[in-house]
Amino acid sequence: MPGGRPASLQRRDTGLVNLTGLDPATYRAHALHGSGRTYGETNCYTDVLIELLHARGVESLAALGCTLGIDFEGDQWTFFKPFPEDLELLFGIDIHEMQPYRPLPEQAAEQLAQGRTLIVELDSWYLPDTTIAATYRSEHVKSSAAVEGIDPAGERLRYFHGTGLYELSGEDYRGVFRIGGDFPEDVLPPYTELVRFDAGPCLQGAELREVAHVLLGRHLSRRPANNPFERFGAQLERDLPRLLAGDASDYHAYAFATVRMAGSAFEVAGTHVEWLLGDAARPASQALGRIAEGCKILSFRLARRRAFEPGETLFTLTTAWDEAMELLDAAIA
């Protein structure tokens, strides 16, 4: 386990009630968030789950076969998340919506005290770890976070967000929970999920791989009926004039919803199948890696907002998807 503490309830003299006792200062993120990746981040929800599972001492990759089933959905690629049923089968984790009808810090402390946690949508305006992304104190963007620890009296929150574990306090704490101050009332409560770890056995080793193997077959069988990159390519050609005429924020929003989502999903998929199938999955993983690289190239080229011919890159993406799916079908047959 990162940091070496048992994955059980921790209560400290400081008033902090927490899940694992991990310290943000010494926390080591999962390798999916390490250097050497084409995409160092996926999406806010999946990134949080990767780190939450990792912090619990289980292998997050087991739950990421879902990345193989993503589709181009007309104007965006699937916002992928580990399937709740996969998390339950693999780790005995049950995630479902919670009713935030009382002050959230109280609810979080109570659930942590019972060995559970919350995933909650927070306003990244108050999340100091987003300094790098420049949303801290500059932009109101909803972002999922999982509560690792909370000290309501001391106004401290430890939370998994993005690629790591962080802590906020004081004014940020009051802001993120909308305590005191002059907050407008026409804001809905945040979407909040309860995460329980007692819904079944938490598999490890060969048992974990065995179930993940079954799930991989299911995810492969529910992939799009035809090549999603062909449809994405056709839409991209239609979108290009509008994107080239737009501003930088239009580009970033488009890139996040399309190439970043697809590229990060298929890069994770490649790592998933290598973890699960070893060398037998290497050719498929390489094909999936070409998808990630192709998406990255498109990200950069779109960012220039100058006319370009995307045909060659789109051809690479389309053929790599076909190749990867064919190889994986053969690998699990």
Binding site: S35, G40, E41, I297, F300
Partner: protein, 87 residues
């Protein structure tokens, strides 16, 4: 790579990389992603490098490894702008 080019690259990373550290003291081989360079910011660094040095990175160079350190960026700029090798 001339010192001037290295300084210009440092300044571009400082202005567009959104790093929580002073780039001026960063080792040329330090991993920029490890010190906080996001995907979002790496795109802005790439655009600023192209503008400043009047170059265009070919597709084969549009990879994270090209933007992972000051040294790797220096190498890429020197490849695309051979005169940058001459001090």
């Amino acid at each position: 790579v001339p010192e001037l080019v290295t300084d210009e690259i440092r300044q571009i990373i400082q202005d567009h990389g959104r790093l929580p550290i002073e780039v001026g003291t960063l080792a040329v081989n330090a991993d920029l992603y490890q010190v906080g360079l996001s995907s979002h910011a790496s795109v802005n660094v790439m655009l600023a490098l192209e503008d400043h040095f009047d170059i265009e990175f070919p597709d084969r160079m549009l990879t994270p490894s090209v933007f992972e350190s000051i040294a790797s960026i220096e190498e890429a700029v020197a490849t695309l702008r051979p005169e940058a090798r001459v001090s």
